[in-house]
């Protein structure tokens, strides 16, 4: 036996060498196939469904707006964000009373070839397709996550739903006037309507495909977008350029490029060329920070959102964020301020901390909430969890919103321990009679750390640690169920704006939207509600902006929320590519403009 081992080891070594040789060799390419450009995009999460009606996550939207067409989108290079026609042939014609929107659809838009169509050949996109797509949201069988955008907005839609959601039955306020013209009649003016038509939820789907695939439509997208799906599973998706996508030459001016802005020159070579510029996009879903980082460093991804844990090894400076020399040799960077914010709301429905029928106790509760707001240290929160590059702002109009006021009073985001202690004292609170706070969060290390930091902030004003308790939940769904059922005292959530208009954040505190609606604070201030109603039908104007800012002030003075911070995302990509990536309102629309100018192609197209 002793003499046998060397022989056996030799054979194992030879076999291992053969296997490693084969494993380390690159898989052969199809030599005869035409060369194609490839872009590999790593995302930090995965969409579960590609049905536009379910496209609520940033990850789903990223793919959906590339597989399908929306009537509008946001200009690629314009900041602040601006709408531009996509499938629509121009901006909508709006009646003087703001109630009727008439929209023409571009000629030449076609759905991709698919077995859902007779003979497998795609057909032209019509106005009727848009009507069908919007109706789907109000069909309970669709289980839409986007219906709320148009809820109680379109004449006859709720009745259509009540009558059984028969797609052959008309909706008076949503009509295809002819093959290419859509008319939407609103119940009351809704100035944000055009913005909603740029959402992934508003993507146009063909009825044949929905009926052909049934529930499987969610993973068998049939759209008219710049790309079609070649593969999709829990690890990634492959998109191929759609040959049937309409020919629309790129224009720097139309995309909102500012000739004076730095970096505009890098897009000049795109002028006149028709997107999409990349033949194949490989989207990888990599939730694990370490794996995502390794993928970039190994050259297996061309783009990632850099994990916060790697900021130190990537950035040479924080303000403005700039790559260090080693990284800058290989990558470009964009610091993308998120189109939303993180905030912690008090459950105003809880008499221990919120509204109370006794006016005196109600005032004491307000004093307590305000003391907590004043004791919260936003600088530390930003430094510890967001690398100090988040943007702290007072209230609920985040910096990305056009109504953001750079000169507003920042009292409520500046830590004032003396003021907080004084408020507690004046309101009659002391360590013995302070209520026990339950701070809810879905179970994770980071959330736990945030809770502990909150508890340490409160300790500084004498709030006993044992009176601030964690209320943990196994999943975000369980957490959402609890706070939507008003069972959580302190609710920490993030809100991603759907469109750049502060109406989208104001509605978070509009009384009638209380839980299970999006007003998880269950805030209900008559003056705030009045201003919200009055501003809801107004088009953007200085008066409307002033009303929003008033509402923001009222909310801060009521101390209904500890808010807020917009995170800065560090997006890094391979320098061989020209792009302006965006996780905000442009979102996945930027894929079609990614270009790999002058670089040799990597792999053949399928």
């Amino acid at each position: 036996m002793a003499r046998r081992f060397p022989g056996l080891l030799h054979r194992i070594a030879v076999a291992a060498a053969l296997v490693l040789t084969a494993a380390c060799s690159e898989p052969a390419n199809d030599s005869g196939a035409a060369e194609a450009t490839v872009y590999r995009h790593a995302m930090d999460g995965a969409p579960r469904s590609l049905d536009p009606a379910q496209a609520s996550s940033v990850y789903a939207k990223m793919l959906v707006v590339n597989l399908y067409d929306t009537l509008y989108r946001y200009k690629y290079l314009a900041r602040p964000y601006e709408l531009t026609p996509n499938l629509a042939d121009g901006m909508p014609q709006v009646s003087t009373d703001g109630l009727i929107y008439t929209i023409r659809i571009k000629p030449g838009a076609r759905f991709i070839d698919d077995a859902a169509f007779p003979g497998g050949a795609g057909r032209a996109v019509t106005a009727e397709d848009f009507v069908y797509s919007l109706k789907r949201h109000f069909d309970p069988a669709t289980r839409s996550r986007g219906a709320w955008l148009w809820q109680d907005r379109i004449v006859g839609m709720e009745q259509w739903k009540t009558d059984g959601a028969d797609y052959d039955a008309p909706v008076p306020g949503l009509r295809a006037i002819d093959e290419r013209t859509v008319q939407i009649q609103l119940i009351t003016p809704f100035p944000q309507l055009t913005h909603t038509l740029a959402q992934g939820f508003a993507a146009v789907v063909p009825r044949e495909a929905v009926e052909h695939y049934g529930a499987g439509f969610a993973i068998n997208p049939v759209g008219s977008g710049p790309y079609r799906l070649d593969g999709f599973d829990s690890s990634g998706a492959t998109l191929l350029r759609s040959e049937s996508f309409r020919h629309e030459p790129f224009s720097l001016e139309a995309e909102g490029a500012d000739p004076a802005a730095a970096g505009t020159g890098s897009f000049e070579h795109l002028e006149g060329r028709a997107p999409p510029f990349i033949d194949r996009i490989e989207v990888q879903f990599i939730a694990e920070d370490a794996a995502r980082w390794n993928t970039l460093i190994a050259g297996e991804a061309d783009f990632i959102k850099v994990p916060v844990s790697q900021f130190d090894s990537v950035l040479a400076s924080r303000a403005p964020p700039r790559l260090n020399a080693e990284m800058a040799a290989r990558f470009d960077l964009a610091a993308n301020l998120e189109s939303g914010f993180v905030h912690t709301d008090f459950n105003m429905d809880d008499p221990a901390i919120g509204y109370h029928p006794d006016p005196d106790q109600d005032a004491r509760n307000r004093g307590l909430r305000c003391a907590i707001v004043k004791a919260f240290d936003w600088e530390r929160r930003n430094e510890v969890f967001y690398y100090g590059i988040g943007r702290v702002f007072p209230g609920i109009i985040p910096p990305v919103a056009p109504e953001y006021d750079t000169s507003q009073d920042r009292t409520w985001t500046e830590r004032d321990l003396d003021g907080a202690r004084r408020l507690l004292r004046e309101s009659g609170w002391h360590a013995d009679n302070l209520p026990t706070l339950e701070y809810g969060f879905p179970s994770s290390v980071t959330e736990r750390q945030m809770f502990e930091q909150f508890r340490s902030f409160m300790a500084d004003i004498g709030y006993p640690a044992e009176k601030i308790r964690p209320l943990t939940f196994a999943t975000y769904g369980d957490y959402a169920r609890a706070y939507l059922n008003r069972e959580v005292m302190l609710v920490t959530t993030g809100w991603t704006m759907d469109y750049p208009d502060a109406e989208n954040t104001m509605q978070l505190f509009f009384g009638p939207n209380a839980s299970p609606g999006s007003n998880s604070a269950n805030y209900d201030n008559p003056e705030f509600n009045r201003l919200f109603r009055a501003s809801a039908t107004l088009r953007p104007s200085p008066m409307r902006t002033s009303m929003y800012r008033n509402m923001n002030r009222i909310l801060q003075e009521d101390c209904a929320t500890i808010s807020g911070i917009s995170r800065t995302l560090i997006l890094v990509w391979n320098r061989e590519y020209t792009m302006l990536p965006d996780r905000s309102f442009v979102g996945g629309f930027f894929f079609r403009f990614v270009d790999r100018a002058g670089a040799p192609a990597e792999e053949p197209a399928n």
Binding site: M1, A2, R4, V19, L20, A22, A23, C24, S25, P27, A28, R48, S49, D51, S56, P140, A141, R143, S144, R145, G146, A147, W148, Q151, G214, A215, G216, F217, A218, I219, D233, S234, S235, G236, Q284, F285, I286, A287, E288, A290, A291, N294, T295, I297, A298, E300, A474, T475, Y476, G477, D478, A480, R481, L484, Q507, N513, P516, G517, S518
Partner: protein, 312 residues
């Protein structure tokens, strides 16, 4: 006939028990998927409508019997999260997990047996101490640490940069080796310690038996004693460990590997179903795993009889 009927009845009871308990856990303690499926400003009526569509408003036993019907007819429904038919999901992910896990699983066991035999043969001497030390070290290391270390060592410019960091674009044997090698090595490393310790203990016990001493007295060679007497007479525990590890390795063992290497297998699909409360997927995986256990038990019983005629 009586033996087969008894086994069938036992298997049926096992399946009923497993499905009942797991369904109970899913319903009472699993995540409520309603709140992951509703829109931003859902009304109470809309929430009730989604709950109805998910079947949450049905009595427990009605839902459980529906589950059994689905299992018997293999009409497993569609994922609540993606809409994909569960049968299609299983057909898509299971072969990937098998292709991913089988090499590491088999090699991990074979190497464990080889090292266990070597340690048992040299019990108390340096090869035994070396192997035991190695096993304990392997058992002490977290799966996650092994995965991250191997990724850094073999897949990035920080190390040898021989293999892709992640992915599963398999269309040939060469590409299969490219994508499966590092995950397989991770699996081997993480299971080898446990396997070696177990097999060493089994073989040492066998080494101490009278028939081995008798064989030695009759002049049997070391090879003959190892293969013919020790290994052969230890096959019952070896088979037991091997067979009953299969469902666990395929389902739960692949979870971290699939997650970190971006491999679209059944482990990742199951994990997503658990965390999101996607009951159609979970019910199918749990039910089919129970069936797999019963079938493996039947195969194992047959193998026992083959390797040891005394087993009745």
């Amino acid at each position: 006939m009586r033996f087969t009927a008894g086994k069938l009845l036992h298997g049926l009871l096992l399946i009923l028990g497993v499905t009942f308990l797991s369904f109970l856990l899913m319903v009472w303690f699993g995540p409520d998927q309603t709140y992951s499926l509703i829109g931003k400003n859902a009304s109470a009526e809309e929430i009730a409508s989604v709950r109805h569509q998910l079947g949450y408003d049905q009595p427990f036993f009605a839902r459980y019997f529906e589950y059994l019907r689905e299992l018997v007819t293999l009409d497993l429904g569609a994922s609540n999260a993606s809409g994909e038919a569960v049968r299609s999901l299983l057909a898509r992910t299971l072969p990937v997990s098998l292709a991913l896990m089988i090499p590491g699983f088999v090699l991990g066991n074979l190497l464990g047996i080889a090292l266990g035999l070597a340690a048992a043969q040299h019990r108390g001497r340096w090869p035994d101490r070396l192997i035991t030390g190695f096993s304990v070290s392997g058992m002490s290391l977290s799966f996650l640490v092994i995965i991250i270390a191997l990724q850094a060592l073999l897949c990035t410019p920080y190390g040898l940069d021989l293999f892709p960091v992640r992915g599963w674009r398999v269309d040939s044997f060469a590409s299969y080796l490219q994508y499966a090698t590092v995950p397989s090595l991770s699996l081997i490393l993480v299971t080898l310690g446990y396997n070696t310790r177990f097999y060493r203990a089994v073989f040492i016990e066998e080494y101490g038996r009278d028939h081995i001493r008798t064989a030695r007295a009759f002049g049997a060679s070391t090879t003959e004693i190892l293969w013919k007497h020790v290994l052969r007479n230890s096959l019952v525990p070896v088979i037991t460990r091997f067979m009953f590890s299969i469902p666990l390795v395929v389902i739960s063992g692949s979870l971290l590997i699939e997650s970190y290497f971006g491999i679209p297998g059944i482990g990742l699909a199951t994990f997503e179903a658990i965390t999101s409360g996607d009951q159609p997927v979970l019910k199918a995986v749990v039910g089919l795993t129970a069936v797999a256990f019963v079938l493996l038990q039947a195969v194992t019983d047959t193998l026992y009889r083959l390797v040891d005629p005394r087993v009745t």
